[in-house]
């Protein structure tokens, strides 16, 4: 099994290169790269000055020499493959280049947003599993009761309504009208002056609405998965065996059915890890949170390719590791799962 996971980790390398080379090439092919953007910016600036002073350079205010410099800086003067490997070489020493928009190092831009995204990501994960597992269990035990039906209606409504609509509704009702929560932002303007408890409270009150918006959609899937999985296992014969041994049903649920019913959920766990960093740009936009979703979207629109590539590096690595994590989780809860090395079971 260990050798299986070592092989899986080694496979990350070619997959990672495949993903990044694809996107890297795409950034070259899509019209409107950073150079063009700078040229048009320069032209706009040039138009303003042109009114007062004498200037003509065939529409562009950048000299050919300057243009060549820029191209060389971004590696546009070389074939794609060459500049890709130059980029990759820098990535290996954690140099992601500079943002074409802010000219800050990409690494700084990303680490600036990292705490915000990780905060929301981890809480979404905790809330999803922390709520869905017990809720799904309770629904399974109380199958077809009023409680089961009402919660089903609520979570399916949450699933059916797009998360940005939920976000907008929450914002209008609870922030704008009732003024129970702030209108947005990650923390309040006076955050730095607050005491430790005050800071926690401030963080919390800002996080409530976005977190609801984030999780509303994902509740349905995990809860219903948990419920059905547990119901299947409650009807399983080994639970009857346990009860036939003299165990009471409640203990049989926790002692026997529970772990078995986690297997399908464990399969999805790794993928949820990578969700930590993706975020949703719409929710971030609505709540004015500076997270990864917004950063990724804006850098795409602005053709800030170094940032786009930087985010890609991080999220693809996380996704690949997440997949392996899923496998590890499944192997942990289900002894029947044996990976590789020919020891197939059953």
């Amino acid at each position: 099994m260990t050798s299986y996971f070592i092989r899986r980790f080694l496979l990350i390398v070619p997959t990672f290169i495949g993903v990044t080379i694809l996107v890297f090439t795409l950034t070259r092919l899509v019209p409107g790269g950073p150079i063009e953007r700078m040229m048009s910016e320069a032209r706009l600036a040039g138009d303003e000055t042109a009114a007062s002073s004498y200037d003509s350079q065939g529409g562009s205010t950048l000299s050919d020499a300057q243009l060549e410099d820029l191209k060389a800086y971004y590696g546009f003067d070389k074939p794609v493959v060459v500049s890709y490997f130059e980029w990759l070489g820098k990535v290996l020493v954690l140099d992601l280049g500079r943002s074409t928009r802010y000219s800050d190092p990409v690494w700084d831009t990303i680490t600036d947003r990292l705490p915000v995204s990780i905060f929301y990501g981890i809480w979404t994960l905790i809330l999803t599993y922390g709520v869905c597992i017990p809720l799904g269990m309770y629904k399974a035990i109380r199958h077809k009761t009023a409680f089961d039906n009402v919660t089903s209606a609520v979570i399916f409504a949450g699933y059916a309504i797009p998360s940005y609509v939920v976000a907008l509704l929450l914002l209008t009702i609870f922030a704008a009208n009732l003024e129970w929560f702030p209108l947005g932002g990650f923390v309040g303007p006076d955050f730095d002056e607050l005491s430790l408890i005050g800071k926690a409270g401030d963080l919390f009150i800002h996080a409530v609405l976005p977190l609801i918006a984030y999780t509303a959609g994902s509740f349905a899937f995990s809860t219903i998965l948990m419920k059905n999985s547990l119901m299947d296992n409650l009807a399983a014969e080994y639970v009857r065996t346990a009860v036939a041994k003299g165990m009471d049903f409640k203990r049989a649920i926790f002692g026997h059915a529970f772990r078995n019913s986690l297997i399908p959920l464990a399969t999805g766990f790794g993928n949820n890890i990578s969700l930590i960093l993706t975020g949703s740009f719409l929710i971030e936009k609505i709540f004015n949170i500076d997270g990864f979703g917004l950063l990724g979207f804006e850098s795409l629109v602005e053709r800030d390719y170094p940032v786009v590539m930087g985010i890609l590096v991080l999220s693809s690595l996380l996704f690949l590791i997440g997949n392996i994590l899923s496998d590890i989780c499944v192997a942990l809860v289900d002894p029947r799962v044996k990976f590789g090395s020919g020891e197939t079971s059953q």
Binding site: G246, D248, H256, D334
Partner: protein, 326 residues
């Protein structure tokens, strides 16, 4: 003295608002230390009867509609749940048809075996439990027990799993073992081994066994008495010899006639009972075997026959058994 008395037991299922009686006034006794066979075709209510004894009817659909089950004189259906848990798995144990699914796939054999002790003898120390588990596996003929304890069910064959199930049932030295078709899912040689094992264990421990099967051959091999069920009712009950030598009920006769015999000419067409069992929702008010019975008369369609004593220890539910027997 009878250790278990089933007295006019009726069991009903509530299926989508409709209540169907699937076991209808079944009565039999079990003597301490004997092996009683319960035989009948699929769906006749064998498992439901067994589950009723264990108090394991699927809830909330199934419930005991009438009658009583007495274990050592104590009425089981009216017992408090905690008291019933003391008896279940401790005084009365049960093994099931499907050894492949009856064990928890994510727990080691050792842990599942030890559980019976933890439930019924919580003050035993871990070391003693471990030694007892080893002893149990040894007793049911599992080689390398030390290693088996650390294995998971999927690492064992079907026959081995059924042995583990039997070991689990034996853990607390029960007075009664209910075996619900324990060999149906196994291949023939393994079947024979398991039957052999059950017979040996019974001799060693002196427990009573209720052996459920649809195979009359197995009954002949293992049991001292048998109950024949048909469509939720008892057709006949007798000690093995009279049952096989002189069956009284036309259904039992049909069953016996349908067993192929070595003395038969090769390629003799097997005798079968014509017709099919009436569906649970279209049961006739008269005798339930009437539509397949070669001896049917008006009375049979009008009135359900009561279980009467034909010969000593031999009971039968047929209006015409005397005439047929003659």
């Amino acid at each position: 003295m009878s250790i278990l008395e089933i007295d006019e037991l009726s069991v009903a299922f509530d299926t989508e608002g409709e209540i169907v009686t699937v076991v209808d006034r079944v009565s039999f006794d079990l003597e301490a230390g004997e092996t009683l066979g319960v035989v009948g075709e699929s769906g006749c209510g064998k498992s439901v009867t067994a589950l009723s004894i264990m108090g394991l009817l699927p809830k909330p659909a199934g419930r005991i509609q009438g009658g009583d089950i007495r274990f050592k004189g104590e009425s089981l259906p009216s017992l408090a749940p905690e008291r019933m848990r003391d008896i279940r798995g401790n005084r009365i144990a049960m093994i099931f048809q499907e050894p492949m699914t009856a064990l928890n796939p994510v727990q080691r054999i050792g842990r599942q075996l030890a559980e019976t002790y933890l439930l019924h003898q919580p003050d035993l120390d871990a070391d003693l439990i471990h030694r007892r588990c080893l002893g149990l596996l040894d007793q049911v003929g599992i080689p390398a027990p030390e290693q088996r304890l650390t294995e998971y069910p999927h690492q064992l064959s079907g026959g081995m799993r059924q042995r583990v199930m039997i070991a689990m049932a034996l853990a607390s030295k029960p007075d009664i073992l209910i075996a619900d078709e324990p060999t149906t899912a196994l291949d023939v040689t393994i079947q024979a081994q398991i039957l052999e094992l059950l017979r040996d264990l019974q001799r060693e421990t002196g427990m009573a066994i209720i052996f459920i099967t649809h195979d009359l051959g197995v009954i002949a091999e293992l049991c001292s008495r048998a109950v024949v069920m048909y469509a939720g009712r008892m057709a006949e009950q007798a000690p093995i010899r009279p049952l096989f030598a002189g069956p009284l009920h036309p259904y039992t006769r049909g069953l016996l006639a349908s067993i192929p015999r070595l003395e038969d000419e090769p390629k003799t067409v097997l005798t079968t009972i014509p017709g099919v069992v009436p569906g649970i929702d279209e049961l006739p008010s008269g005798c339930r075997f009437a539509n397949r019975c070669p001896h049917v008369k008006d009375l049979c369609n009008r009135e359900a026959p009561e279980l009467v004593v034909g010969e000593p220890g031999h009971r039968v539910a047929c209006h015409r058994w005397r005439e047929i027997d003659a």
